[in-house]
C-alpha cells in the first residue's frame, strides 16, 4: 500500500529521534482502545468500517500508520469529508491517524474510521474481528465486535439514498426488506464453525 511506504519512510526519522530519548513508549501499553466495533456485512458487500475510541495515555505523540486483519485483503485509514450540504464522502487519511500525547482519537461512523476492503468472509453480527494496528510505537491488537448497522456508508447525502446504493462501492446494508429471510449480513448459510467465544 502506497500510504504505508510513505509513512514508514517518515518514521525512520521519527524512530531515530525517539531512540535518543531513552525508553521508547510501547503503543500497546499507552493506547487505551475503548468499545471497538465493526459494522456487520456480508462478504459480497466487499467492505466495512471499524470504529473505536483510542486514548493516548502516553507522553508522546503516536501515529497509527496502518492496520491489518485476516478478514480483509486491504485495510485503509479513512477520513470523511463534507460536501457542505450534509453529504459526505470518504478518502484515505494522509499521514495516518495522529494522536497527540494525552489526547483521544474517536473513530466513528461519519468520521475517521478504519476501512476493511476485499472482505474474505461474511462478518456477522456478534462476530469478533481481530485487527492489528501498526503504530509509531509498535503494534496494537484490537478485537472489534460486529454489530448490525445501516449507517457508515462510504458515500451518503440526505435525500439521495435511493441513488447512492448499488454503486461500485457496494456498501449499502440497506434496510429494504426483500422479503423472506433477508437478514442483512446474517445470511442463511449457517455458521462457519466460529461460533464459540
Amino acid at each position: 500500500m502506497k500510504l504505508r511506504k510513505t509513512l514508514l519512510a517518515a518514521f525512520a526519522g521519527a524512530t531515530l529521534t525517539l531512540a535518543g530519548c531513552g525508553a521508547d513508549p510501547v503503543a500497546a501499553d499507552v493506547l487505551k482502545v475503548d468499545e471497538p466495533w465493526t459494522k456487520a456485512v456480508s462478504k459480497d458487500k466487499g467492505m466495512t468500517g471499524v470504529f473505536a475510541t483510542i486514548d493516548n495515555e502516553g507522553k508522546q505523540e503516536i501515529i497509527i500508520a496502518d492496520a491489518e486483519t485476516d478478514v480483509a485483503g486491504t485495510v485503509e485509514l479513512h477520513e470523511t469529508t463534507s460536501d457542505g450540504k450534509g453529504g459526505m464522502s470518504m478518502k484515505e487519511k494522509e499521514g495516518g491517524f495522529v494522536i497527540p500525547a494525552g489526547e483521544k482519537l474517536e473513530l466513528k461512523p461519519g468520521g475517521e474510521h478504519i476501512m476493511l476492503m476485499d472482505l474474505k468472509k461474511d462478518i456477522k453480527p456478534g462476530d469478533e474481528v481481530k485487527i492489528t494496528l501498526s503504530t509509531s510505537a509498535g503494534d496494537v491488537e484490537i478485537t472489534a465486535a460486529a454489530r448490525e448497522f445501516t449507517g457508515a456508508k462510504e458515500e451518503y447525502a440526505p435525500g439521495e439514498n435511493d441513488h447512492g446504493e448499488h454503486m461500485d462501492h457496494g456498501d449499502d446494508e440497506s434496510s429494504d426488506d426483500k422479503g423472506g429471510d433477508d437478514d442483512h449480513g446474517e445470511h442463511g448459510d449457517h455458521e462457519h464453525g466460529d461460533g464459540k467465544k
Partner: protein
Amino acid sequence: MTEISRRRLLGASGIGAGAGLAAGIGGTYGVMGAAARGGEDSAGFSGKQTVPFYGAHQAGVETPPQAHAVFLAVELKDHVDAAAMRRWLRILSDAAAALTDGRAPLADTEPEMAAQPASLTVTFGFGRKVVELAGADKVPGWLKPLPKYPIDRLRPELCGGDLLMQICSDDPLTLAHASRMLMKDSRAFSEIAWSKECFRRAYGTDPKGTTVRNPFGQVDGTVNPEIDTDDFAALVWGDPNAPERPGSSGRKQVETPRGQAPADLDSAHPDWMAGGTTLVLRDIVMDLESWDLADEPARDFSVGRRMKDGSPLTGEREHDVPDLEAVGSDGFKKISPASHVARSRNGKKPEEQIFRRVYSYQSLAKGPIRDDVEGVRQINDAGLMFASYQADIERQYKPIQKRLAEGDLLNEWTFPVGSTVWAIPPGASEGGYIGETLFG
C-alpha cells in the same frame, strides 16, 4: 387556599425542610411539592438511578416495578442455529448491560439517549424454540402454551414469539430508545412477533410500594409476595434461600396469612434454569364500556374489595386479610364466593401464590358501536399486561387461573387476548451472557 396562607406554608416548609426530610415520607413529599411549584424539583430526579444488570437472577423480576414497560416478543429467523443464538444473546446481554448502566451500547446511533437509565431493566425470556436450539432434552415440559380456558378470546398474533424482552424504566423516552436499540440488535436474527407499551404510575406520584390502580380504577395487586423476603424467594425463585438482589440488605423472614410456601417449587426447573423462574404473560382486555354500566356497589361486590381504597368488604384497610367466611346480616357471605378475591385465594395451599408485576395499557381508539352497551361507541383500548412470575406454573399458576376462568365475576368485563409462557433463565455475571447455561 389563599395566596397568603399558601405563601406562609411554603415559608414553613422552607424553614422546616431539614426536619421534614428527617420526619419521613410525609414531610419529604410536602417539601418536594412546594419546590415543584416554586421552581426546579431537583430532589426528584431519577434519571441516574440504575438497577444492576449482572447478578444471580435477572433484574426486572425482584425489582420494584418501574413506571413504564415494553413487552417485546420476537420470532427467530429460520437460519438461526445454536451458534447464531449464542452470538445474539451475547450482543443482547452486552447492550442491556450498557443501557441499564446509562452507557450507549456499541453501534448506538443516539448515544446521548442512553445517559438517563432511570432504573432501566431488561429481562429476557425463552420460548420453546430457543431452548430447543440447545437440545430437545433441555426443554421443560411446562414450556408450552397454557391450556385453553373458557374465558379466552385469544388472537394468534398476540400469542407467538420465541424470545421475550421485558424492558422497564421510569422514563418513557429512555425506554423507547432502549427498545429500539435492542430490536436493532435483534433484527438480523429475528422478526417482531408483537409488542406492547404499558405503564403504571409515574415515578414520584406515589411512594414506592403503593398498590397501583388498573384501568378499572381497582386497587390491583394488594396481596403480592414482598420482594427481599424468603417468601418471595420460595415462590418466585423456587428456593427460600435464593441469592438476594444486588443492593438488598438481606432477605427478611416473613409470615404471611397464606402460610409458608414449600421450599421445593424449583423442582420442575431443568439444571440450566438454576436461579431462573417462569413467566406467564397474559394480555387481558378490560372492557371499559361495559364496566361503565356497573355502579360502585356492583364493582365492589364483583371484586370483593372496595373500589375506593382496596379494602376487603370484611375489613377497613387495604391490607386487612379478607374473611371469606364472614356472613352479613342478610345471611349472605360478605365477600361473594364468586368475587375475584374469593376465587383467587386458596387459603389451604400456600403454593398457590404468584408474583404479579402487572402493567396497564389504555388509549383512546374509535371502536365499533356497541349494541350491548346502549348503542354507545367503544372508545377505549384498555387492558393489562398481566405478568405473573412463579417458580412452578403447574403448581402455582394453573390452579388459580383455572378457578378464575371457571368463575370470577370480573370475567364479565375482562377477557384474555394474548397468552404466552416463558422460561426466565438465570442472570449472568460480568463477561457472561443471559442464556450461557444453555448455550455455553
